[in-house]
């Protein structure tokens, strides 16, 4: 089966739904990894990207309270926080040499939409060259509801303020049955895709994600990846895909960590299915540096960033450290036999070596 698929993919053909499910269930991680690594090499050569970026979570106060989230708090709950725009600017001024800021937070019950526009504009004004990546589809949908504005208007205003890129969070898993158990408060998969489509339409690049390893089946994963592939055929606005391994600690759903083998296979399968995505990320803060590095041999081409502040995953029991230096990332990439490329938020090359 693998040989036939491999030949077809090399010739520019695509995986069918049945083939993708079959491969996900297949035991041959080496064969799958090899075909995925070849596909990655056709797209990005020997390059493996990283970015020096800065994460800011403006608040953990959230009206949604998803069952798998260990980060969110209610307004008056112990441990809740909210940053002022000045505090955000201060945090960004405190360090240098990063090319992107990544902003995601809770759905704050009181902040009006204007607050977010002011936030983005203030960052843009103070840091004219910085790539601003902010707000998942879930937040955009929320802004639309609290402002009474349509998606296009919300996204256009944010873009005018300086927003260039949106992260891919909030996609979770599209399959309805699972999604309603996992995050009944969150927007539907259909709405998530709608937000992304409009974002791409107004000229905002985005990422896409999939949260796996909780209650879903392989069929659900393939369904999710095919929906992303279809949308990308239509818009071409996705930059990178990121598979997010579910972290079971401190969440209501519980369960176990996905296996390292499953993590690698999921990377490889996403590389094979998402033939119209330029990049597949092995997000080290979620997977750990060891699996992320290994994933570079299974179809991934990006380790993401040196992240100075990442609260969401760590509150769910991530076993990884909170920061890697530029040198750490370059070392990991080289030891995987790849060429390290520092990129900005839009995959422009900043440094190569």
């Amino acid at each position: 089966m693998l040989k036939v698929i491999s030949d077809r993919i090399k010739g520019g053909g695509r995986l069918s739904y049945e083939e993708a499910v079959g491969l996900f269930k297949h035991d041959d991680i080496f064969g799958i990894g090899r075909v995925a690594a070849e596909a990655a090499e056709r797209k990005n050569g020997k390059k493996a990207y990283f970015i020096v970026n800065r994460h800011i979570n403006p608040t953990n106060i959230c009206v949604n309270r998803c069952k798998f989230c260990a980060f969110s708090r209610s307004k008056d709950e112990e441990g809740s926080f909210e940053l002022t725009i000045d505090q955000i600017l201060e945090r960004l001024s405190a360090v240098h040499g990063f090319s992107e800021v990544h902003i995601v937070g809770g759905l704050h019950p009181e902040w009006p939409f204007e607050h977010y526009i002011t936030m983005i504009s203030a960052i843009r004004q103070k840091f004219p060259l910085l790539n601003i990546k902010a707000f998942t589809a879930v937040e955009i949908d929320y802004f639309s509801r609290i402002s009474g504005l349509g998606l296009e208007e919300v996204l256009t205003k944010l873009k005018e303020g300086g927003l260039q890129i949106m992260p891919g969070g909030g996609a979770e898993i599209f399959a309805e049955g699972i999604r309603s158990k996992l995050c009944p408060e969150k927007i539907s998969g259909e709405r998530w895709r709608e937000v992304m489509e409009v974002a791409h339409h107004v000229g905002i690049k985005t990422n896409a994600t999939m949260l796996y390893g909780h209650l879903e089946t392989f069929e659900d994963r393939v369904d999710h990846l095919f929906k992303l592939r279809d949308l990308q055929d239509k818009t071409g606005g996705f930059q990178a895909f990121i598979s997010l391994a579910y972290h079971p600690k401190n969440t209501e759903i519980g369960g176990f960590y996905s296996s390292g083998i499953d993590d690698l296979k999921t990377i490889a399968m996403s590389r094979l299915i998402l033939d119209n995505f330029d990049h597949v990320k092995a997000y080290w803060i979620m997977l750990g540096e060891k699996i992320s590095q290994t994933a570079l041999l299974f179809g991934a081409d990006d380790l993401d960033g040196t992240i100075i502040e990442e609260k969401i995953t760590h509150m769910a029991g991530a076993m990884t450290g909170e920061g890697m230096t530029r040198e750490d990332l370059i070392y990991l990439i080289r030891k995987a036999g790849k060429t390290a490329v520092e990129r900005d938020g839009l995959y422009n090359e900043i440094w190569k070596g």
């Binding site: 080496f30 690594a37 176990f256 083998i261 540096e289 076993m319």
Partner: protein, 351 residues
């Protein structure tokens, strides 16, 4: 199947594609263990003392006898730890310590006898440096020393202290520690007295690929003569808090820990080269659970110990909190049946 030569092993190690190596190692693992079962042992690593005259540069655990942190476990503490181990359904204790200048053979034989008088548990203890230290101290041969320990109740010997069995590397890492020949000698004598032992390798410090192959060759050749090794356990040097991780020890720059890909490469080579060693362990303690799971497809068939206590690695700043249930879940999630084994790899129960 024809054996891999040293030259072939070196060429593979230096340039073969990791997925190809993994696939080969996985095939060999399947042939040796067709039941698709991954085993683990429930045991406790008890370090009876942290005082050590060897002061290896890769170790964060040792203290001088005068240090305020120096300790020797009392019998009460030791018995309590063993009781807890048995309560956790443990079948083995791994007793290792530093080379304490004030502890003689009497201490060891009394310790072993007192354990055996109270508990039914396998005592896996005293790695080759400890055995050699005792032999030298009491002017006994290695064989006599092991015989005395065995008569007092020692069941099996852990493979620690092997580090890299290349004296060039040992001279840098642990100049005061026993040389390769002595390590191998202890194992050969122990095997000759009917004891089983494991073999380890600590890589990722200052060795070259040639040193790793030299190590594997030494193990394979001894195993051809004795068949006494139950398992091979490669693990990577953990530089935190050690002398080697400092810049002022005359090495070129500080040492970065071995990466996942280095680990998997060494593991696959171990599985390919050591065709006469039945079991290869993955090291979740040094690699984390996720990479340890991946290791099960890169040649390993055993998950090692549940490590109720692991002081030495923890002292180097690595601290994964993992329960027996986590280990079982991790093995199952990797697609294998999980089974608790004893020291000799007999299955006690399946999960």
């Amino acid at each position: 199947m024809e054996r891999i030569s040293r030259e072939e092993a070196l060429a593979l190690f230096k340039s073969a594609d990791l997925l190809d190596l993994g696939e080969k190692a996985d095939r060999i693992r399947k042939a040796l263990h067709p039941e698709e079962m991954v085993t683990f042992v429930v045991d406790r690593n008890i370090n009876y003392t942290n005082v050590c005259i060897n002061q290896c540069r890769f170790c964060a655990f040792y203290r001088d006898a005068e240090s305020p942190d120096a300790y020797v476990l009392s019998k009460e503490e030791l018995f309590k730890k063993i009781e807890e181990t048995i309560a956790f359904e443990g079948t083995q204790i791994l007793i290792q310590g530093g080379l304490h200048p004030d502890l003689g053979l009497d201490y060891y034989t009394a310790l072993l006898k007192s354990i055996k008088a109270r508990f039914e548990i396998n005592v896996h203890g005293f790695s080759p440096p400890e055995v050699c230290y005792l032999a030298k101290k009491h002017n006994l041969t290695v064989r006599e020393t092991i015989q005395i320990l065995k008569d007092a109740g020692l069941d099996s010997i852990p493979g620690g202290g092997a580090e890299i069995l290349s004296d060039r590397v040992r001279q840098v890492l642990s100049p005061k520690k026993i040389k390769s020949r002595e390590w191998l000698r202890v194992m050969e004598e122990a095997h000759g007295l009917g004891m089983r032992t494991t073999a380890t390798m600590m890589f990722g410090s200052v060795e070259a690929p040639e040193d790793i192959i030299e190590h594997l060759a030494a193990i394979r050749s001894l195993q051809d003569r004795t068949g006494g090794f139950t398992a091979f356990i490669p693990w990577s040097f953990q530089p935190g808090n050690t002398e080697l991780s400092r810049d002022d020890v005359g090495l070129q720059g500080s040492i970065r820990p071995a990466t996942a890909i280095d680990y998997l490469r060494v593991l696959t080579l171990s599985r390919l080269y050591l065709d006469n060693v039945q079991n290869v362990q993955s090291s979740w303690v040094t690699q984390g659970l996720k990479l340890a799971q991946v290791a099960l497809r890169f040649g390993a068939n055993d998950f090692g110990s549940t490590m109720i206590e692991e002081n030495v690695v923890r002292a180097a700043g690595v601290n994964y909190v993992v329960s027996k249930e986590d280990i079982i879940a991790a093995i199952k999630a990797a697609g294998f049946e999980a089974a608790q084994r004893n020291t000799y790899y007999s299955i006690i129960r399946k999960f």
